[in-house]
């Protein structure tokens, strides 16, 4: 009953918006720059993520924009090279963009000083600096969702709550030998001390196409659970090597970067039981995804392949824009047009208990917290899709925030 009401209200709202569209289209556009890596390192996620972002924005524009303001998107390939990111950034900033998203840690990290100076909002969803969650040090940088420290903490808590306690267990952290792979280690070490489990870390060389030597070591360690911390092609290799070395799939827990395609690369049946962190609902069962299917994909306005819709990375893209648009809406209501980077930042910081109609856990931001609480859940591969096996929750945020503050203080000192 509630849902029908909601739907009816939505349709009514839509009718009003469509009716008023010609007048409202006169309002000045809001400009976003999606300056991402389509050709180098992040290709495994960029196409799905970017398509999700653009499809959601298309949906918003179809429904009359944000309070009548259409959203204009510039998409540029940076090839994961900071100098190309800088060029693209300067270009879209000159054109009046108030939000940029690089989806590349090296580029985003190189841009931190610039966006702070220019007052342009930079999204660092699942990339960039973990300490950017500290809104007081990084007022214009928004991780928006649980960052790697929160993800690692959540996986530990999941084992503690759902897998019969973590005390005395042996955890292997198998990671790509890069700053990203090492990032969760300090948090895991601290948790190992507090919770009384044994942690050992096993690096493999980037990019991770060849990991057999590492996994022989892991087997000797006889871990109770294995964390795999990589991205792209290396993740499927990790899962395959783990299974080959006699580790049961349901003992494998992954960072957020493990998608449907990786499971099919391993073999959908063989990988049955693998678990991973997720920050958004996967699939197309949520109202927003349904609307995208109906008004964007079926209308032939999707920015990519219809098969991608509802996939892990696609939904992360949709969620990133859903949160941003909500922030922009609040900002317009509170401060009025024209929207600036500073107004948009304040708008996002005003978001309270927003769940994008069930797509994400309820998130709240503030001028202090740009991570939104670090919520997520664990889901398991059932051979066809990802099935949630825990509730939305966040874990050990006091410890995570200690780390965030410590790193942010380092950043301040170095400036």
């Amino acid at each position: 009953m509630k849902r029908t009401l909601k739907k009816a209200a939505m349709t009514a709202a839509l009718a009003v918006l469509v009716g008023a569209a010609p007048v409202q289209a006169q309002k000045e556009p809001i400009k976003f720059g999606l300056l991402q890596d389509f050709t180098a390192v992040y290709t495994f996620v960029t196409s799905g993520y970017n398509q999700g972002q653009r499809d959601y924005l298309t949906l918003v524009n179809e429904m009359g924009g944000i309070d009548g303001h259409p959203i204009e998107v510039t998409v540029v390939d940076t090839g994961n090279q900071p100098q190309r990111g800088i060029e693209a950034y300067n270009r879209v900033r000159r054109d009046g963009a108030i939000l940029v998203d690089f989806l590349s840690t090296p580029v985003a990290n190189a841009m931190v000083n610039r966006v702070l100076e220019d007052e342009v909002v930079m999204l660092t969803v699942m990339h960039g600096r973990g300490d950017a969650s500290d809104g007081e040090t990084f007022p214009f940088v928004f991780p928006l969702m649980a960052h790697y420290w929160s993800q690692a903490a959540l996986l530990v808590e999941y084992i503690d709550l759902y897998e019969g306690g973590i005390e005395g267990k042996k955890i292997a952290h198998v990671h790509i030998d890069s700053p990203f792979g090492r990032e969760p280690i300090p948090v895991l070490q601290e948790l190992a001390k507090q919770k009384g489990f044994t942690l050992r870390t096993f690096p493999y060389a980037s990019p991770g196409n060849e990991q057999s030597a590492t996994w022989t070591e892991v087997r000797r360690f006889r871990p109770d659970h294995v964390f795999i911390w990589g991205a792209g092609g290396g993740q499927a290799v990790s899962v395959r090597e783990a299974i080959r070395n006699g580790i049961s799939p349901d003992k494998i827990l992954s960072v957020v970067w493990l998608a449907e395609s990786d499971m099919h690369n391993v073999g959908a049946d063989i990988a049955k039981g693998v678990k991973r962190f997720e920050a958004t609902v996967t699939g197309t069962d949520t109202p927003i995804l349904q609307e995208i299917m109906e008004k964007v994909v079926k209308a032939g306005k999707s920015a990519g392949d219809a098969k991608e819709v509802g996939n892990t990375y696609y939904n992360i893209g949709v969620a990133s824009m859903a949160i941003t648009v909500e922030g922009a809406r609040l900002a317009l209501k509170e401060f009025g047009a024209p929207l600036t980077g500073d107004k948009l930042r304040r708008g996002i910081e005003m978001i309270k208990d927003f769940d994008a109609q069930g797509l994400i856990p309820p998130v709240s931001y503030s001028s202090k917290d740009h991570q939104g609480g670090g919520f997520g859940r664990v889901s398991q591969w059932n051979g066809k899709s990802w099935e949630p096996v825990s509730d939305w929750h966040n874990a050990y945020q006091d410890l995570v925030w200690e780390k965030i503050r410590q790193e942010a203080a380092e950043f301040k000192k170095g400036r």
Partner: protein, 357 residues
């Protein structure tokens, strides 16, 4: 035509031995320098900070490497690591409290020391084997930076460049950054141009052409090879520091990865091995052409002339870029500088043809 030689008589050694004895060359250089000096007034800050600035800095890098690869004939596939040493050293020195000017020197010295140590490998190996030795340097330096948080800057592996001044000018202003980079590239250019004419440079050329023949005519190969590595690494280290402070403003290990080493080698090769002008043209080609192509494709797509998926659109510039490299190398295997050289030689003796080489 243009490069008129008639009526030019050098009556003093100084005028005959100046860098550009032909007036046309000299005037071109002066005009370009004047344009470069006036650039902050002439171009918008987008082009100043995103095109000219990185171009000048990467030209310094290519010039530093051309001293080693072009003049001394020692292949180096780990030059980004040399620059990384300079960049990280300068940041840590400034954080330690040293003034930026001294930190630049320190960056150069540190890079020269470590680069020289790896250069010692060049005393025993040549050609492809030297490539392997320098590759080892690239990976070792990368590994150490990533694995020592004290160097890389903690879990984020990102170091912001501290606010500082250069000769009492604040280094966080775009114009100051540009002029620092310009000053450095002019210094390096003059240095390389002059090294080519000194006994040091001639000894390096002799070593390049045949090292034991050079030994026979009395050149101490060990000393000159080491000096080549030392000098080139010093320049590379300072360039790395300039790159960090004037352009990136934050250093991460990825900015000095193996790919960047290859890019710098490509700049030297596409521009023309051993040519100063080639370093400028090569850096422009490798650095700016992909950006220009990406923007051109995006512009065409915006006009509706190109309709393809985002993924394909992102890859079209790469295909065109690859085609351009092959095209240029087929057209003129000696590099972009040679194309200019051919034109210049043609006009030098125009309307005759006999000086074309």
């Amino acid at each position: 035509m243009f490069y008129r030689l008639s009526g030019i008589h050098h009556t003093r050694y100084e005028s005959a031995s100046q860098l550009w004895p032909i007036p046309a060359d000299r005037w071109q250089v002066y005009a370009l320098l004047a344009l470069a000096l006036a650039a902050p007034l002439l171009v918008s800050d987008l082009y100043l900070t995103s095109y000219l600035l990185p171009w000048l800095i990467m030209t310094s890098a290519a010039l530093s490497l051309t001293l080693l690869m072009g003049i001394a004939g020692q292949l180096h596939f780990g030059f980004a690591a040399v620059m990384a040493i300079g960049a990280y050293t300068s940041i840590h020195l400034v954080r330690f409290g040293l003034p930026f000017e001294l930190a630049l020197l320190g960056a150069g010295l540190m890079a020269a020391l470590i680069g020289g140590v790896f250069g010692a490998a060049a005393l025993r190996v040549k050609g492809l084997y030297l490539v392997m030795a320098t590759l080892a340097m690239q990976y070792l330096v990368d590994w150490i930076i990533v694995n020592v948080p004290a160097i890389s800057g903690g879990a984020q592996a990102t170091l912001q460049t501290p606010r500082t001044t250069f000769l009492f000018l604040p280094l966080h202003k775009d114009e100051v950054r540009y002029y620092v980079a310009l000053l450095w590239v002019v210094l390096v250019t003059l240095l390389i141009l002059n090294i080519k004419r000194t006994s040091f440079g001639r000894a390096l050329v002799a070593v390049r052409d045949k090292d034991f023949a050079a030994a026979v005519i009395g050149i101490n190969i060990v000393r000159y090879k080491l000096m080549a590595f030392f000098t080139s690494s010093f320049l590379g280290g300072v360039t790395g520091a300039v790159l960090a402070y004037c352009f990136y403003q934050a250093v991460t290990p990825e900015q000095f990865s193996f790919n960047v080493s290859i890019q710098i080698v490509a700049m030297v090769l596409v521009g023309g091995l051993g040519s100063v002008l080639g370093a400028y043209l090569g850096a422009a080609f490798v650095l700016l052409v992909p950006i220009v192509l990406t923007n051109a494709v995006a512009y065409l797509a915006g006009l509706g002339l190109l309709s393809a998926s985002t993924n394909l659109l992102a890859h079209i510039p790469l295909m065109v870029y690859g085609g351009l490299i092959i095209g240029f190398l087929l057209f003129e295997p000696l590099g972009l500088a040679k194309i200019y050289d051919n034109l210049r030689k043609y006009f030098l003796v125009w309307p005759f043809r006999h000086a074309r080489s």
